[in-house]
């Protein structure tokens, strides 16, 4: 009760503002990998996410149900991505189609180099980012954890940088926290940890490192119980955010008693 109150208190100190828009949650949910719309809907509810990613694919008359209806019903903002694109050209056109189809100029920019690592191609990514910014898009690039590339993406006008913790879907967590700290340390835009998170403690760590938000997909949609994991992640993001603000104790080599040393009885 009062803890909830507190929690809101602290969060509200600094609302999460992205491209000038305030979002009510620092958890962004990817909808891919879920076995059904029903599962997406439950995970969405449990996660309290305010924005979800979607992919752009050829219309398929056979498919029933529309992901957009699910998002609308929940009042969740849609963030189209360019998943599957290998070149700046493909990504730019996919972004243009997404804007046309969904009426949003926000785009999660993905330009990957291969299927095995799904790692971003730094050159194509930068080219696409520059072109999309010039075309009036609000660009949220999925990038590796290189602080220099993150800096260049900001210089190109991206409204956020979304470094990976580890490759998409691996659940390896944050492989290199030092890089994330370096990125956060100099970022002038929100840093959103994207990809690699496997469980709640990974998400909490991302926030403790200073990330403004996390983007989750497989860790939630492919968990044995997606809704339960979504709820776990919602708590983890709050936990990590609060801990970052609370100022953790320094690490010590030797122990320090938490009970008073004086006043011991002789027994």
């Amino acid at each position: 009760m009062s803890a909830c109150a507190k929690s809101h208190e602290f969060s509200s100190d600094d609302p999460f503002v992205l491209a000038g828009v305030e979002l009510s949650s620092r958890l962004i949910l990817g909808t891919g990998g879920a076995p059904s719309m029903q599962v997406v809907d439950e995970a969405l509810a449990a996660s309290r996410a305010a924005m979800c990613t979607v992919a752009m694919r050829r219309v398929d008359p056979r498919t029933s149900g529309n992901i957009l209806d699910v998002l609308d019903r929940r009042g969740v903002r849609v963030l189209p991505n360019t998943a599957g694109c290998r070149t700046a050209r493909e990504a730019v056109r996919t972004a243009q189609l997404a804007r046309e189809a969904l009426g949003t100029d926000w785009i999660k920019l993905e330009v990957v180099a291969d299927d095995q690592t799904l790692l971003p191609d730094p050159v194509e990514l930068l080219d696409a980012a520059a072109e999309l910014v010039a075309a009036g898009f609000q660009v949220l690039p999925y990038t590796n954890d290189d602080p220099v590339l993150a800096r260049r993406l900001q210089q190109a006008g991206c409204v956020a940088v979304m470094p990976l913790g580890s490759p998409i879907g691996t659940g390896l967590g944050i492989a290199n926290p030092h890089n994330i700290e370096l990125i956060v340390g100099e970022a002038a835009v929100p840093v959103i940890l994207d990809a690699g998170i496997g469980t709640a403690s990974d998400a909490a760590l991302a926030m403790e490192l200073g990330c403004a938000a996390v983007l989750l997909a497989s860790s939630v949609t492919r968990a044995q119980n997606p809704a339960a994991m979504a709820a776990a992640m919602a708590h983890a993001v709050d936990a990590g955010r609060l801990a970052r603000g609370a100022g953790r104790i320094p690490k010590r080599f030797h122990a320090q008693a938490s009970s008073p040393i004086e006043g011991m009885a002789v027994l």
Binding site: G30, T31, G32, G33, A34, M37, V40, T53, V54, A55, M56, R57, R58, V59, P61, T63, N66, I67, L68, V78, L79, P80, N81, A83, R93, T94, Q96, L97, A98, R99, E100, A101, L102, K108, E110, A217
Partner: protein
């Protein structure tokens, strides 16, 4: 006349517009976007755009992803 629709060959009558083509395949075109030979075609112009032999039409929509 033959065009390519989402990667598949597709025979249509001469003079077919993009709008007609799309209506034929879906009651609602909500959340759709179309490109002809890679160029985005804004929805307002769909009914003006008459398809031509050999053109590649791509029509996309949002699906679960990312």
């Amino acid at each position: 006349m033959t065009i390519t629709f989402n990667g598949a060959a597709c025979v249509i009558e001469d003079g077919t517009t993009l709008e007609t083509l799309l209506q034929s395949m879906s009651t609602t075109a909500r959340g759709f976007a179309a490109a002809i030979d890679g160029e985005v075609v804004p929805r307002p112009t769909w009914q003006m755009v008459v398809l031509r032999e050999g053109q590649a039409v791509e029509v996309l929509t949002a699906v679960q992803g990312g």
